[in-house]
Amino acid sequence: MTSQAQVRRLLSLVPYLREHDGAAVADVAAAFGISPKTLRADLGVLWMCGMPGLSPGDLIDIDMDAVDGEGVIHLSNADYLTRPLRLTADEALALVLALRTLREIAGPDQRAATDRALAKLEAAAGTAPTGSASVNVTSATEDVRATLADALQRGRRLDLTYDTATRDETTQRLVDPLRLFVLDGYGYLEAWCYRAEGLRTFRLDRIAAASVTEAPVEPHDVELADLTAGWAGSMAHAPLVSVELSREAAWVAEYYPTETTTTVDGGSVVATFRVTDPAWLRHLLLRLGGSARVLSPDGAGDAAAEAAQEALAAYAALDATA
């Protein structure tokens, strides 16, 4: 840890401890996102700080016996540090963007609270350029978001009209909502699906309609994935498919998560993908026309070729009747 980060923390720690006299070491450490050991070291430094002159009466007073004994913190003699340092532009913008991201999946009440919090933060941040960055989230309509928030809050089952991407059709299903999240710019609902009898993730912009039912959600024995690893964790067991993408299709390797990418002569790219659903690959290959070619495994491109042949046969029939 740099001393700069420590200085920054100490300048917040002093006013915090003044406001929370007798706070437990463990609670303070948790609030500041540090270990109790780091907090103990911080207190050791603070204890040596104070008014110029540095006679014992000038120093910040911390009851170290209480820290090491009962594990609580009493700090006094720091009347000049009653307020934390103002937010830097970096801190203000990081927090504002985080709130704006939350706003995109929130229901009406949380959204109103977010707007109020944003206004207060922007006022407190003064001249910080909070307009210098934005995050766009592909989310649900306002109506659908309100319905999801209501069902989550009241613990009610949802009736969803959902356009599945891979099967390419509209489905109706009952689900018990568990959480709403944003990953890589898209909002999702994670829920127990009664139709699939398992945990499913629904992209918010593909939820065409949602209504809250009177049924309460049931307890389900499921473990929600840790999202900090992105999609990688949930796709780790899917088979690998290697595809050669010509220059005009090279964007695919940027758009979808890849395991490896290699640029070859002329700007084409060889990329390997984890394919959880063969229908996704078929759809992708059809879209890209001839600009993508499956290298391995054998047969991974057959479904797309067969679908193309079926479509061409239908066009031939159309021409015959025209």
């Binding site: 001393s3 700069q4 980060a5 200085v7 920054r8 923390r9 917040s12 006013p15 609030a31 996102g33 430094v45 700080c49 104070g50 008014m51 110029p52 000049y80 307020r83 934390p84 340092l85 103002r86 937010l87 830097t88 532009a89 970096d90 801190e91 990081a94 927090l95 963007l97 985080a98 991201t101 999946i105 609270a113 977010t114 919090a117 933060l121 407190a124 003064g126 350029p129 210098s132 934005s134 766009n136 356009d163 390419d168 059709e169 909502p177 999240f181 890589d184 898209y186 879209r287 890209l288 026309g289 797309a304 070729a305 067969e306 193309a308 042949q309 079926e310 061409l312 029939a317 009747t321």
Partner: protein, 325 residues
């Protein structure tokens, strides 16, 4: 030793905060114990570095008040009103959304910035309840290597130079950054072209380097990043296609279309298909989208779109190892 250094910088901060007037450098040297025992040169170096570190943290150190008793010597002070976070009071609901926001960034240094902002808010009396809104997990990723340097450059208004798409070196005055579909873009004035440009961070092939001092330019007033980013969306429809769609299939197309009530004088749609009018802005883009649906969606008209789809299908069908039937 790091703790000694932290101690010295905190003591310097307190000394400048409580002085109530400009303190000459020589007086600071006496007051702050950490400067005792240093040679003149070592003191100068250390004091300059300490000031830089405090300014980097956002501590407003003012210079002025040349004291006649200390000829030409600059004085320093920190005004408590400039130092302190203005009062901010959040109700329970507001505090809980801020608590959720604290976990949003999945990028090490941005997460650290949020953490430090939260520490200040807590010190100002905000008490977020981490258990409220537990079912909400918004997140922002920034995996592009260029993100960190560009973020700093935007905030400090520093001109940057980078290589784009492995071929051209660009010099940019970065005005702002925007994320769309999980990918980051930087917007600004391309200095060599003297034009507004947007760059996708994943296509920057080196680390952007600062090539000016901070504050080298001003971003335009009322910069609307959302509007600029909207130019990345598909174009507004300019034409309409008549499609034959298998019932219930391809909702992504039919949701933005309308059922064809009256069909052209054709023996179409054939059995098992419905007619839909769907607008599109780009012919190649629409051909790509329709081809993706295989035999579930067929183009009845216009002919050029149909030809585009058929070409794509032929290219894919030719890849079959054996004739399917």
């Amino acid at each position: 030793m790091a703790p000694r250094k932290t101690e010295r910088i905190v003591n310097l901060t307190i000394a400048l905060l409580v002085a109530g007037r400009y303190l000459p450098k020589s007086r600071i040297r006496e007051l702050v114990e950490g400067y005792h025992g240093l040679t003149d040169a070592a003191f100068e170096r250390t004091f300059e570095r300490d000031k830089d570190e405090l300014r980097a943290l956002g501590v407003p150190i003012e210079v002025g008040g040349f004291d006649p008793l200390f000829e030409d010597e600059a004085g320093y002070r920190i005004l408590p009103s400039e130092f302190s976070l203005p009062p901010i009071e959040l109700d329970a609901e507001e505090a809980s959304v801020v608590g959720v926001a604290a976990r949003v960034w999945q990028h090490a240094s941005m997460a650290e910035s949020t953490q430090s902002a939260m520490a200040k808010l807590r010190a100002a009396g905000v008490e977020p309840d981490p258990s409220a809104l537990a079912a909400l997990e918004p997140s922002v990723q920034a995996t592009e290597a260029a993100f960190g340097p560009l973020w700093t450059a935007v905030l400090e208004r520093v001109r940057v130079r980078f290589t784009y798409r492995d071929q051209s070196v660009r010099t940019l005055e970065p005005w702002g950054m925007t994320s769309r579909r999980g990918r980051w873009y930087v917007v600004g004035r391309d200095v060599d072209r003297d034009a507004t440009r947007m760059f996708k961070l994943s296509r920057i092939s080196d680390l952007p380097a600062a090539v000016s001092r901070p504050g080298a330019f001003d971003a335009p007033e009322g910069l609307d990043l959302r509007a600029l980013a909207a130019s990345l969306d598909p174009r507004e429809p300019t034409a309409e296609a008549l499609l034959a769609v298998r019932p219930g299939k391809a909702p992504s197309l039919t949701r933005r279309g309308r059922r064809a009530e009256v069909l052209p004088d054709l023996a179409w749609p054939a059995d098992g298909y419905e007619g839909w009018w769907v607008g599109y802005g780009s012919l190649p883009g629409m051909a790509e989208e329709v081809a993706g649906h295989g035999a579930d969606v067929l183009v009845v008209e216009p002919a050029d779109l149909r030809a585009g789809v058929v070409d794509r299908l032929r290219a894919v069908a030719g890849r079959a190892p054996v004739e399917a039937r």
